[in-house]
């Protein structure tokens, strides 16, 4: 049942007015986002994984280790699970200095099991100047960075984050997101990230689980899952995809940067990201149109050759969603059904995707 390199979680919780019924298989590396509206069960799911809530009859294995299997009477209490947990509010111990807060968990981990040093955690989150202060002297953003460092200092096998940015304003949020991206890049610790914020998911997630009313609507790699037409998955107000690439060149004259990805290149506004940097771009379905010829007489900068893969109805009867494959990268276009008929779109057809807007998300 337990497979090395994966996280398997099967929980059924029934409270009056709320039920959770999931059977998830998640990659044992990278960031997996549990995305859903409030009340969708994502926090309950995370708490069950941490053992803070006992879902009777559940099963949980993390990278080959069984933490819960009620059919065999196995249930590790939270303090025996090698995990890190970041709550929505930082939940630092108010009676301990920042340094003692950081040491609290680390000291309780056997020396042989420590793989993240205190200095490393402090450096990763940029909290060295705060070490001798007390928690009540810190801003919300600083507290949350300490909480993340405190969890990392226990060298967890998995890091569980429950909307760690939800209690912060936009400014604080943007102050922490780069640190989270660094974690992603520099530590090999799988992260389960609960969020209802589309921008966080677009920036951080590798794997996306969409929860609705206690059930998993979809679970898969971020790009593929967002490009599925059969599910009403919207990161925020609109359908769209996220592509990964890196900055390949900067056109200083026109203040543009070229992002190279699997299926070609896209020009985006230059936002001082250096060449070679790994980035993500988000392309909304409403910003993608379809043409049969490559127009050179258009103002649109980004025109990619693509292949029609699938057509589906959109929410409004006038509109259709079209999934395109641009050299391996999935795109979704929203067009009118009349246009689809006029262009006689069908799977397998070669077309040109005209992309009106591309947003760099990190």
């Amino acid at each position: 049942m337990s497979v090395a390199g994966t996280i398997r979680a099967r929980f059924r919780v029934a409270h009056p007015g709320f039920a959770l019924d999931v059977d998830l298989q998640l990659p044992g590396r990278g960031v997996s986002a549990l995305f859903g509206a409030s009340g969708s069960g994502k926090t309950t799911c995370l708490r069950a994984i941490a053992g803070l809530e006992h879902a009777p009859g559940g099963y949980l294995s993390v990278n080959g280790e069984v933490w819960q299997d009620d059919s065999r009477g196995v249930f590790l209490p939270t303090h025996q699970r090698p995990l890190g947990y970041v709550f929505q509010e930082a939940s630092l111990f108010p009676h301990l200095s920042i340094r003692r807060n950081l040491e609290y968990g680390m000291r309780r981990v056997p020396a042989a099991a420590r793989r993240v040093s205190l200095d490393q955690a402090v450096e990763l989150l940029g909290i060295a100047p705060l070490l001798d202060r007390m928690p009540d002297r810190l801003s919300g953003g600083e507290k949350q960075r300490v909480a993340i460092a405190r969890a990392l200092a226990t060298s967890p096998r998995i890091l569980l984050m429950d909307e760690p940015l939800a209690a912060l304003d936009l400014k604080r949020k943007n102050e922490i997101l780069p640190y989270l991206e660094r974690l992603h890049g520099e530590l090999d610790i799988p992260v389960l990230y609960v969020s209802h914020a589309p921008d966080e998911v677009a920036r951080l997630a590798d794997h996306l689980v969409v929860l609705e009313q206690g059930r998993a609507l979809a679970s898969g790699p971020l790009g593929e899952t967002l490009a599925r037409l059969d599910l009403p998955i919207r990161l925020g107000e609109d359908a769209g995809v996220v592509l990964e690439g890196e900055i390949a060149e900067i056109d200083a004259d026109w203040h543009l940067a070229r992002v190279a990805f699997a299926g070609g290149s896209l020009w985006v506004r230059d936002s001082s990201v250096p060449v070679g940097q790994h980035v993500r771009v988000r392309i909304l379905a409403r910003d993608v149109s379809i043409a049969q010829d490559a127009h050179t007489d258009s103002s649109i900068l980004n025109i990619l050759p693509a292949c029609v893969e699938q057509l589906a109805d959109d929410t409004h009867p006038a509109l259709a969603l079209v999934r395109l494959n641009a050299g391996g990268a999935p795109l979704v276009a929203r067009i009118t059904r009349r246009s689809a008929a006029r262009l006689q779109l069908h799977p397998g057809q070669a077309v040109w995707a005209q992309i009106k807007a591309v947003a760099l998300v990190g």
Partner: protein, 229 residues
Amino acid sequence: MLSDTILSDTALSAIWLTVRLATVTTLLLFLIGTPIAWWLARTRCWLKAPVGAMVALPLVLPPTVIGFYLLVVMGPQGPIGQLTQALGLGVLPFTFWGLVVGSVLYSMPFVVQPLQNAFDAIGERPLEAAATLRAGPWDTFFSVVLPLARPGFITAGILGFAHTVGEFGVVLMIGGNIPDKTRVVSVQIYDHVEALEYAQAHWLSAGMLAFSFVVLLLLYLFNPNGRRR
């Protein structure tokens, strides 16, 4: 004559006995009251209300009622009296340890309720955070709960001690009036008044008044915003 009245041997021994009784009682109440308060703060069991009510009973019962029942159960024919006799401890009424038992019961709510409030105020989250940082339940209790509940322990200690110093009815019922054994300050004052020794009664009473004021002052200084009865 004056120094005689202030520092008379009977007065001194009454004061010393009172301090000993209050100290032993307070220490025992911390040992017994802490788990009870923790359980009351955390449990969702239906017994919470009955147990809470039992603990609070001394707040409303006349001390003579408590004293009377203690006398009955700890007496030679009572169940606890039989037990203590079987264990070779004799009977407890009219001894120092009998007074301790009475005082522990009588002052229980003054220790348990501030502790319970302090534990309630900590909430679930710090305990969960400690668990995710590998601290087991006992570890969490000593490294997180005790430090966070410190104001509650100070309040509980001061109230428990002061309330024991001030008790009279229970002492009179189960302790009687035996010098060096059960004659505490409040009983001594009563004796003085009965004997029309108003001067001596004054010194001890004024001492109690000053003591009580200082205790409450300390309490309010330590916990300027804390709730109290």
